[in-house]
């Protein structure tokens, strides 16, 4: 058993050496196995990693500075690009933050619609992550199957907002339009077909001996260390702690639904994979419940100062024209104050810390990006493992470059 020591820089290094022939390996920033641009300078002894030093910021786009120059409704497209595998969660989280600041109550129907969209996004995100774990173990088949299913989710987004990936979905106060019949038809078809296809994917990997041998024990982290590192989302739950914002601080009427929070035991790649698989099933169940219990009502709150009036009204009535102008030009008044709101993003607690001085733009907006926070544990998780496990650990942590670097 080797010994791990913590260097003065807070970096973990391993002291055990085999023959003392240590090489330095530059992994990234453009490396086919890293799924995004992360650079790691690895010290390797043979294939075993002795230390890793991550460098990030290769797609730093200054979201927080950009947000200080934009009216509230124009910030939604920025949030799209945080975790672009599940944009609707980011959009809706931002809308809820502004609603919390402005004290807007949305109708129950909006909550349920949001839940459906957010859970679809969660499924889409977990599908990418889990199928990519498969790719990294050499199983490309699952990837091609699951990307076909993801296309169906994209088609559902298209019915709601017209876009596939960067959705800019919804508005402050609700939705831009109600779910239409095509959406319902497609969603029902998806709910009917997806579980069978998903089970096929599940059978390909989850109890596959080769896959299990490959991923069990790769990149583990204990629950204590995970909390120390402020992990959240599936990665924290895989380590064995059942913290889920949806349950802890229910938003958007999540308390109305019956679902369970899967937890793992060892926090390794296999646990992370299985936790995500189970979360997909729970999300499906939530979507079904939301569809069954969908209340009647309006698809947006009655807040003319934030919610754009229908276009035909703009042409006909003076008030609508004024509101339209004010919203589009970003001249709506918003109370001063500061608010922290968090949602359960696809890979953890996605928080918005918003400081408003009553002006047309936020005074300060900080995104709590789960990726950024848990990626710093990466060196600790891969030290003393082999290089191929390091790649698996990275893909199973679901580090999304856009969210990491903001």
């Amino acid at each position: 058993m080797s010994e791990l020591t913590i260097k003065s820089t807070g970096q973990m290094i391993s002291t055990e050496t085999i023959d003392g022939d240590i090489a330095t390996l530059n992994l990234g920033p453009t490396h086919p196995a890293t799924h995004g641009i992360f650079q790691n300078i690895l010290k390797v002894d043979g294939e075993r990693i002795l230390s890793a030093e991550p460098t990030i910021g290769y797609i730093h786009r200054a979201f927080e500075k950009l947000a200080e120059r934009r009216p509230y409704n124009q910030i939604t497209p920025i949030t799209d690009r945080l975790n672009y595998c599940s944009s609707p969660i980011n959009n809706i989280g931002w809308h809820m933050t502004v609603e919390k600041l402005a004290g807007i109550e949305v109708p129950k129907r909006v909550d349920y619609m949001r839940v459906i969209v957010m859970e679809l996004a969660r499924i889409a995100d977990h599908l990418v992550c889990n199928s990519v774990i498969g790719v990294d173990t050499g199983a490309l088949t699952g990837f091609t199957y699951m990307f076909q299913e993801r296309e169906k989710i994209y088609e559902l987004y298209e019915e709601i907002c017209g876009a596939r990936l960067t959705t800019n979905l919804g508005r402050i106060g609700g939705f831009e339009r109600d779910f239409n019949d095509i959406f319902h038809a497609k969603l029902n078809a998806f709910l009917k077909e997806f579980p069978a296809n998903f089970d096929e994917f599940d059978r390909l990997l989850t109890r596959n001996r080769i896959f299990m041998d490959r991923v069990i024990g790769a990149g583990p982290i204990t629950a204590e260390r995970a909390v120390e590192y402020s992990f959240s989302g599936p990665n924290l739950r895989a380590a064995g702690l059942d913290y889920d914002v949806r349950v802890m601080n229910p938003y958007s009427s999540y308390q109305d639904f019956d679902f369970s929070i899967p937890v793992g035991k060892d926090g390794d790649t296999y646990d992370r994979f299985v936790v995500r698989q189970e979360e997909i099933r729970q999300s499906l169940s939530i979507i079904r419940q939301a569809l069954d219990k969908m209340p009647a009502g309006d698809f947006h709150a009655n807040v003319p100062e934030f919610y754009l009036p229908p276009k035909e009204e703009v042409y006909r009535s003076m008030e609508s024209l004024i509101y339209h102008f004010k919203i589009v030009m970003g001249e709506t008044t918003i109370p001063a104050g500061e608010v922290y709101h968090s949602v359960e993003g696809a890979n953890g607690e996605l928080g918005y810390y918003l400081v408003s001085d009553g002006g047309r733009t936020p005074y300060r907006l900080h995104f709590r990006r789960p990726c950024f926070i848990y990626y710093q544990a990466y060196p600790e998780m891969i030290v003393d493992s082999v290089l191929s496990d390091a790649i698996l650990t990275m893909s199973s942590m679901n580090v999304i470059a856009g969210e990491l670097d903001a």
Binding site: Y58, T144, F147, R164, A401
Partner: protein
């Protein structure tokens, strides 16, 4: 029915087919483009969809994704390139062997897009020459495929001597790129 590429113009007779060499080479190049996906952000996910079963980039002879720059023909830049990333991009371009093409996918790669900020490079054409621009934020897979088809068109019709011309050398010089001999 598999759609095989059309043969170039030429003289055909019993047992022979004659055409010019550059047409044959153009045909071969255009239909065996090996892309190097330089995917940094959102557009990269759309590229994954393009590679997936529904859109299937392999139909255009480009299923062989090569991640080593030395063995690729097409640099597909997808996503925001920050100033921190720009030297890396330039180095990757440098390492590619001639003939090489560059496809700039998405608003960020083309012009910086909505990110007119201190940290983002305002278009990759500030550091490397670009052949085809694909607009969109992100572009749909169909658009990416159309961009690739435009590259195929360029590859097919390119003169064999184009990369030896002074004009080409000057263009590279303006980007401070040394031409590989």
């Amino acid at each position: 029915m598999v759609n095989i590429v059309e043969s170039p113009e030429g003289v055909e007779g019993q047992g022979f087919f004659a055409t010019s060499l550059d047409k044959v080479i153009g045909l071969a190049r255009a239909n065996s483009i090996w892309p190097l996906p330089f995917a940094t952000s959102c557009c990269g996910i759309e590229f994954m969809a393009t590679m997936g079963a529904n859109y299937d980039l392999a139909r255009f002879g480009s299923e062989r994704l090569a991640f080593t720059p030395r063995q690729t023909d097409l640099l597909m830049v997808m996503g925001t390139i920050s100033k921190k990333m720009a030297p890396v991009l330039k180095q990757v371009y440098d390492q590619m062997a001639e003939p090489k093409w560059v496809l700039s996918v998405g608003a960020c790669a083309c012009s910086g897009g909505i990110f007119d900020t201190y940290s983002v490079l305002q278009g990759i054409d500030k550091v490397i020459p670009v052949d085809v621009y694909v607009p969109g934020c992100p572009p749909r897979p169909e658009q990416i495929i159309e961009g690739l088809m435009k590259i195929q068109e360029l590859a097919k019709n390119e003169s064999l001597r184009r990369r030896d011309t002074d004009e080409y050398a000057k263009m590279l010089e303006s980007y401070n790129i040394e031409q590989a001999k």
